[in-house]
Symmetry: C2
């Protein structure tokens, strides 16, 4: 079962202040890269796994999606998503992705942003999603990159030239990682990149695209603090298809 850290008051208060929560999709530097991986949304039946405040669910409807089912474990996030959404074709529902059940062939797109690293049993979830997609249906998701998550002490340091450098250890040891991020002991699950991709393949999905998000020169010029994100991969973006 996934940890419900988002309903922790300290976590929620801090998390809600992130640019990507204040500004919505355009507050996330990886959003243009995600958009480029999405299929046409017109007429699509979408499930948004870890929908949070509903930013992506609403955007997908604006792009012509026929319906969106937004799922999240956090009651606080679902409350605000419902408050901010006035669209009968968007439904928000409480769900633990480690227990998820979905009807067969009910969706044309499964989308998830920065949520799957909280899921303990990724193989189970992928089997559930694969059968819930119509033939030809798409899965597009982002997770924290395993290189970002692996180390016991995931913190920048300087190399001999003073360059920001990221530490990697424990990469092959999959499983729980605890970090302090707005709250103590946030629980994530480390999986190697190979393991993530092979789990998709084993679930019967074809890999269409893989991206390790790095900001463009234009993005770094507009926000110099992003430069570090060219030093090590922070996010993994994957597009797959049934």
């Amino acid at each position: 079962m996934a940890q419900n850290i988002y309903d922790n008051p300290d976590f929620f208060a801090g998390y809600s202040q992130l640019p990507r929560q204040q500004l919505g999709l355009d507050g996330a530097p990886e959003w243009p890269a995600i958009r480029a991986m999405l299929p046409s949304l017109r007429g699509k039946r979408v499930v948004d796994l870890g929908c949070g405040f509903g930013w992506a669910s609403r955007w997908m409807r604006e792009q012509g999606a026929a319906s969106v089912l937004g799922l999240d474990l956090s009651q606080k996030m679902l409350e605000r998503a419902r408050r901010d959404t006035h669209d009968p074709a968007i439904e928000y529902r409480s769900a633990d992705l480690d227990q998820l059940q979905l009807p067969p062939a009910a969706f044309d797109l499964a989308y998830s942003a920065l949520t799957f690293h909280y899921v303990q049993d990724f193989a189970r979830l992928l089997r559930t999603l694969a059968q819930a997609l119509a033939p030809g249906g798409h899965l597009v998701f982002t997770v924290e990159h395993p290189i970002y998550m692996a180390a016991a002490h995931p913190q920048w340091f300087k190399d001999a030239d003073g360059r920001p450098t990221w530490p990697v250890n424990g990469y092959a040891n999959e499983g729980e990682r605890r970090t302090d991020w707005f709250a103590k002991g946030v629980l994530k699950y480390h999986r190697t990149l190979a393991s993530t991709l092979n789990t998709l393949i084993d679930a019967g999905l074809r890999i269409n695209r893989v991206e390790e998000f790095a900001p463009s020169a234009e993005q770094v010029a507009a926000m110099p603090s992003l430069a570090e994100e060219r030093e090590r991969p922070m996010m993994l973006l994957v597009a797959a298809q049934r």
Copy 2:
């Protein structure tokens, strides 16, 4: 054009002493993982890109391959491969993989071990290989992992707990990397993992399996120095299919 470092006398002398060159395939801890990714070899027409001393070329014939074409840039390696091989169905030929041309649909398996990171134009090579494979044909290859190659100073250090830790920087900046390995200034080309996989997909290949080699508990017990290879991914293994 790829650098021909293998014909440098210092490099060749050092390289020839590696366990994997002295002992052949069983001297490479990743060999069991590669074997698990290979299709049945019976009757297959194989091209072995970067064949070196011919260990894999000969093994593939023992497994029933119909023919093997071994390609290498190094004259010294080809000389020894020819000397050690007595099999008219194995041909060794000099080739720069950056200039390679192969006839269409002439092979059922393209295999390459720890060679593609010397290739400058990976997209060109992959297009060449994709058209040289018969429909359904397989590509199985290993390269140095981009996490292993990326940093300006790719050297172990100890984290705050004294644990062996690997540095990563410059990951998003693809291109030349120079290292000193048996000779000064060995030239390799860094590509992100995503870039490697997308190049395969763009060449029309389907990704069947991805492995980031890490030694098993049994391997570490038999050779304790391998334990470090569980800390960071050193090799990337990919199986794809036309």
